[in-house]
Symmetry: C2
Subunit: 240 residues, 2 copies
């Protein structure tokens, strides 16, 4: 470099590495269904790499149950969710669904903070709730937020965002029937598949068009269900 005042090239050349991220549920109104279960046991999906499947699942040792001589400051796990109707707060050592959905709103806020920070630093700016966001939430003290939980109930939150009426309906129904959270969670899929159908099976688009949902990945299982139903729709064969 010389006195030409154009040091930019050197600047570029020297930038180094940076780091910084069962029952029998009811479908409510819809009866447009010919859901044949059997086919689903053996997943029909083809794949580019059909070999080498399932060779994982070894080394599953998963150290749980604290070894002697370790820090014993593990947080107790969160209380389980129960099916509550809108506005109802859970009794006993349980959490209600309003609280569950609030967790999603909290994540949205944490994402906003991460975006702000990464913009200030000139780093890649996430558009979705990523590992980085979960890490940030934990750092900010929201230790009750974690990835497996949030991913587990995304589609329930999706229904809540896309059709509050129907979501509330379903909650009341499952609560009154005394169903557990797992059953309610399963039931949340159907209305979403129906919405996908009405939108040309573009579930990704359904998520992206909603302000609050845009930041959440479409759950694999939901995408697969849509694919299966779509195939049935366009399928001229009938096994009746």
């Amino acid at each position: 470099g010389a006195d030409n005042g154009l040091m930019f090239p050197d600047a570029i050349a020297t930038i180094g590495p940076l780091n910084l991220n069962s029952k029998e549920p009811v479908l409510l109104e819809q009866s447009h269904t010919h859901f044949g279960a059997p086919a689903l046991l053996a997943i029909p999906e083809p794949s580019s790499d059909n070999e080498k499947r399932k060779l994982g699942r070894k080394k599953q040792k998963r150290r749980h149950s604290r070894e002697p001589g370790e820090d014993g400051d593990d947080r107790p796990r969160e209380h389980p969710f129960i099916v509550t109707e809108p506005g109802e707060l859970a009794r006993g050592k349980k959490n209600g669904l309003d609280y569950l959905f609030d967790l999603y709103e909290q994540c949205a806020r944490f994402l906003g903070e991460v975006q702000q920070i990464s913009k200030e630093r000139g780093e890649k700016c996430p558009t979705k709730v990523t590992n980085q966001v979960f890490r940030h939430a934990k750092l900010k003290g929201a230790s009750y937020i974690n990835k497996p939980k949030m991913r587990h109930y995304v589609h329930c939150y999706a229904l809540h965002c896309l059709d509050l009426e129907q979501s509330n309906h379903l909650r009341k129904l499952y609560k009154d029937r005394g169903e557990n959270v797992g059953a309610w969670r399963q039931a949340c899929y159907y209305p979403l598949v129906e919405m996908a159908r009405q939108n040309g099976w573009d579930i990704e688009g359904v998520f992206n068009r909603n302000e609050k949902l845009r930041i959440w990945y479409v759950p694999t299982k939901l995408r697969q269900l849509c694919h299966i139903e779509k195939s049935k729709d366009s399928d001229s064969c009938s096994y009746e």
Copy 2:
């Protein structure tokens, strides 16, 4: 399940795991510059995990040079690029820049195919040129396309897309000066930084707004340059 015709729940419950795939460059017109290089040697960026840096770079053994007794069908590497002006085809064992840019268009087509396939299969649909796309290109016989190469020149292609005039200008200039590809590649950064400045330093947005660029990740170095220049712009301190 019973005879209610609503087998959907079971269907959902049984979906199993699926798998699927130099010199002193000139800034042309722009002279808005006070690029101080020194600061760039020690990267100032803070980071959430500042420790453990650089402890990598071990285990660098990188088996090259074929061991005896292996398939010897390795393709010869592509001819190096040279700086050519638009329309000029490279002489000798060299490739020209028109060819380089055509590679990007080919990748766009391969991405289109991957998107088509993943939509048919109900899998996640990539919006960018991902590893999967490079794999697909290779499978389709385009073995001359590879990730490190394409990522290396993305910003050059970006300039070509965003300001053909200026890109052509720069090519001619560097060709006439007898500069090598590396020097030309470095020079491509400046006009892009200038464009970012004119767009509120939103380089991501600059890429996303262009039909052809949208599918390419913004190179880290370009993002960093924009960040550094932005800091200088808003910096009231001057070290002269």
